[in-house]
Structure formats: structure tokens, C-alpha cells
Amino acid sequence: MIHVEHLRKTFTTRTGRFLSAGRRTHEAVRDVSFHIPRGEIVGYLGPNGAGKSTTVKILTGLLVPDSGAVTVGGLTPWQDRRRHVARLGAVFGQRTTLWWDLPVIESLRLLRHVYRIPHATWQANLTTFTDLLDLGPFLHTPARALSLGQRMRADLAAALLHDPELLFLDEPTVGLDVVAKERIRDFIAHINREREVTVLLTTHDLGDVERLARRVLIIDHGQLLFDGDLARLQAAYGSQRELHVDFDGPVAQPEVPGLTLLSHEPGRATYAFTGAAADPIARVTAHAPVRDLTVREPDIEATIRRIYEGDLLRAGIR
């Protein structure tokens, strides 16, 4: 569906004014290549300013790259923009495509004409999405009066009424409560499964990624640092697992041979280990009487943070 080869984009910004004016170039995207097959959900991650939105703008035809080849569904986005965007859907969490002053349904009706959707298709999709996203209670409410969660649901429906093959989601759950987030994630998973919509998800919310994307792309300083599945990322770069132990009273010697002691206080200690938990547990229980213990998995968020902060991938695993 998406083929990106050796993509490069440089921006030139003017610095200073008048006589002291100079130019500074900034490489937003450097030699990025990836392929996304039809029907996949891919998480596109990176810190702010990493090059995510530049890539998305190129893929949607809004920016022309300096070099490299891009085809989306067989079209070069910026050369055939109108035909290209007719097959896209997009939701940018921070802004809405709904007409602010008018009832939601009016915006959705307009899309029928914008995308020349056959009336039967439009009606069927509207019915389905109204049902899945529970739009019914606010279809006739002006967009300005919607809650953030309602607005996001309406925007999602708006992005999908014309049966796009490819959906760009940018922070689709930003600012939402847990229940609202889950509802949006369920819906995205559903339309991906049922309609084979390819989804490119840019987000800072790793809950979205864990729930929806098996594969992630990580970009920083314009370079693609990782392209693979989440499990591999976690295995290769995840922190160690942790064993939290409550001893049956104070322990004079909390160190246990073969385990790394992370922290301790009287009667309580935390150890780091890799691999299966059986052996470390056996060691700890042999060392001193134990009242309770828990194994805590490293979370994906910590892994990604380590990657951003520590340049873990810069040496390259690709």
C-alpha cells in the first residue's frame, strides 16, 4: 500500500533580519525507507520534531520531498494530489474537520458531495458508524457543543464515510479519558479488521500503539531507527523484569547471588532479572522467608523513553 524509498526532505529557514540575514537548513527526514502492506496498522513514533509529521505530509501529498520515491496505492501523492486524497481518510486529534457552528450531521452530509459517495454507501456507512461509535445522541448537536470524546468520534466517522483505503491518525486519543480512549481504539481495530483499512498511527500515547499496532516505526532526528514488531523491540531494548519481594521480617543481607539488587528497605527488596521468573523466585525464597512477591514487566513506555533518551538505536540494529 505504502512504499517509501530513500526519502529526504530539507527545510531552509531564514535567520536574523536584513543585513545579518542568513539561512539555516534543517534535514527533517534523512534517507527514510519503509513499506506498509495493505491492511496493516503501523505505529509511527518519535519525539516532537523527529520528522513524523513531515513524513505524513509527504505521504498525504502536502509536501514534496527533495529526493526519494513514494507511492501510495500506486500513486505518487504530490503528483496526483486530488485523486490521491480521495482515497485517504485522516483524523488529526488536535483539530476538527467538522463545521463548528453546525449540527454534526450537516458536516457528514456534505462529505457525500465532497467525495461523491453513492447515497446507498453513505447511508450504510453512516448507520454502521452511528451504531459503532454511538453517534446517535449528538448527530444533531453543533460541533462546538460536543465533548472532546464525542468530537473525536464524529471526526473518525467523517474520515471513513467514503471508504478510504488508508487512514492517517494523528493523536486520535489525545486528552481523552480511559473509557473514551478504549472506545476509539476498539473502533479503529474493528474497521481495520472488517474493512482492511491500512492505518498509519502517529501518537505519543503508547497505549494506542500497544493496543492497535503490531509493528512500529521509530524515527528521531529524521532517521528511521527501528522498523519491526513491538515484541522484538521489547525483547531487544526492554528494561529487565523486576521482582518485588516482601520478606517475612527485616533481612540483614538483602543481596541474593545471581540477582541484581535495585533497591531495598527493611523487610522489602526489588531485584532485576532477565528470562523466566522461576529461578529468581527459587533463589529469593531460599535466601530468606518470603511473605509475598510480585513480578513486574517492563512497560513499553519505559523502553521507548530509554530509546529516545539514550540513543540506544543510533548504533543501528537495522
Binding site: 527545510f11 495493505r38 494530489r81
Partner: protein, 281 residues
């Protein structure tokens, strides 16, 4: 690669379906004007107040003279009523909507629609203009009619010419406003340029004063600009200062400027979008 056919964005599209989108957009543009009825009411009250003030100033100018530059006092009242009625429909005090969309980067969402950007905005503004004409224009004319009585176009032909002229004045004005807003593609502080442009518009279109009241050399200068066609032409056709062959010539001039501005808008928009494609938002 793809199994679903691309939506029909080109090729054989019937005229009816081609007009369906602008019509739908214009309808929403019209409808949204009624979202804030209180604001419209207070706007009307403000316009009426300044309308009264302007009539008082103009009548003082006439003094005991029966005519100034071809205008009778009754014509001057009609002129004031009409210009007050068109303030909102023709956005004579300025319009920064498209500029704002560019500055906020929201133009990206506009470009994700498989539709003509200029066409979309034009349809939206047409709907807005009709909405404002209904909300603010017609009540204003009614108020003037009740207080002073207005001069009305003398017959069906004059009416037809006035209606045509109103359409062209809107088109000409919209294209000028859109063109000015396009400055935002190049400058992050295009608002100042916009303010200057609206000041020129206010003077050049005959909103501040009927153009006939200005010195000959200034009118000759303005005749080389599109501004008279954005309001003054319509008013002169309505009050009958322009009639006969001159009326058709005036309409032709309006049409010519509309086409020229359309071309200029398309070229400028294309250059602006090209800049956006290269330099980013």
C-alpha cells in the same frame, strides 16, 4: 495493489453532480450565519445607528443644494441604505478567514479534500453572503424605506441589471479578498497588509463616499482598478446614475475584472501552494 476503484474525480461527471458540491457548501455557508441570531441582531442595530449618522452627514453636505454630482438628497439616502445593507454581505470591513486557515496550518485539512480549494471557499462565501443579505441587508433596506423612503430601480430591466451587478460585485470582492488573504502563504504577519487592503477597498469601492463626489482625477485613477465594481457600480445602477448603454458597459467592466481577478487568484494560489509544498506549513 488496490481493489476498490478510485472515486470518480475526473472524467465524465454530469453537470448536476458537478454543481452538487458547491451548492451543498453554499447551503452550509448560508446556514451557519443563523447560528448566532443575537450577534446578528446587535450587528443590525449597530449598522442602523451608523447608517443614521451617515445620512445626517450627507444631508448636511447637501445643505440647500438640490443636487450634488448627479445625486439628489433622496439618491444620497438610497446610497447610504444600500452601502449599509451590503457591509456584511460584501465583507466591506475586511475578511481574514482564509488567512487564518493558512497561518494555523489548517489549510492542510482543506487540501485533503478532493475538491477545488478556491471553488470550496467561493461557494462557502457565496452562502455566507446570501445569509448576511437576509439577516442584515434586507432588514437594513426595510429600516431605510420606513424612515426616509428609498429610490427603487425603475423597471424589470433595471432590476435585472442590479441583480447581475450584485452578483458580480460579490464575485469581484470575494476574489479580491481571497487574493489579499493569500499573502499569508508568504508572510506570517500578513494581517497588516490585509488591513491596508481593506482601507483601500473601503475608499475605492465607494463605501466611505459616493465615488461621484470625488475629484475627476481620482475617479479617473479608480476607473483603472477593480474597486468601483465591488460596490459603487451596483449603487449607481440602482439609483439610476448609470443607465442605458453605460449600464451595460459598467456590467462588462465588472465582469472583466471578475475574470482578471479569478485568473490572478488561481495563479497566486498555485504559487502559494507550491511554496507550502516546498517550505512546509
Amino acid at each position: 495493489m488496490t481493489t476498490t476503484p478510485a472515486p470518480p474525480t475526473g472524467g465524465h461527471v454530469s453537470r448536476r453532480s458537478r454543481l452538487a458540491l458547491p451548492w451543498a457548501v453554499a447551503r452550509l455557508g448560508f446556514q451557519r450565519q443563523f447560528a448566532y441570531p443575537q450577534a446578528a441582531l446587535w450587528g443590525l442595530i449597530t449598522n442602523s445607528f451608523f447608517g443614521l449618522l451617515r445620512v445626517a452627514v450627507l444631508l448636511a453636505l447637501f445643505g440647500t443644494r438640490p443636487q450634488v454630482a448627479g445625486y439628489t438628497p433622496q439618491d444620497a439616502i438610497t446610497y447610504t441604505g444600500l452601502t449599509q445593507a451590503f457591509i456584511m454581505a460584501f465583507s466591506l470591513f475586511g475578511w481574514f478567514d482564509f488567512m487564518r486557515v493558512i497561518h494555523r496550518g489548517e489549510v492542510a485539512s482543506d487540501l485533503l479534500r478532493p475538491a477545488s480549494l478556491l471553488g470550496f471557499w467561493a461557494a462557502q462565501d457565496a452562502g455566507r453572503a446570501v445569509g448576511q443579505l437576509v439577516l442584515r441587508g434586507l432588514p437594513m433596506l426595510l429600516i431605510f424605506q420606513v424612515i426616509w423612503g428609498l429610490n427603487w430601480p425603475p423597471g424589470p430591466l433595471a432590476w435585472a441589471q442590479v441583480v447581475l451587478s450584485v452578483l458580480l460585485a460579490w464575485a469581484c470582492g470575494f476574489l479580491f479578498r481571497f487574493l489579499v488573504n493569500c499573502a499569508a502563504f508568504w508572510s506570517p504577519d500578513a494581517v497588516g497588509f490585509g488591513r491596508f487592503a481593506w482601507a483601500v477597498l473601503g475608499l475605492g469601492c465607494g463605501f466611505l463616499m459616493p465615488l461621484a463626489f470625488f475629484p475627476e482625477w481620482f475617479r479617473a485613477l479608480l476607473a483603472w482598478t477593480p474597486f468601483p465594481g465591488m460596490l459603487n457600480t451596483t449603487v449607481e445602477l440602482w439609483v439610476g446614475v448609470t443607465s442605458g448603454a453605460a449600464a451595460w458597459a459598467a456590467l462588462g467592466t465588472q465582469l472583466g475584472w471578475t475574470l482578471a481577478l479569478l485568473l490572478l487568484c488561481r495563479v497566486t494560489l498555485r504559487a502559494g501552494l507550491r511554496r507550502l509544498e516546498v517550505a512546509g506549513g
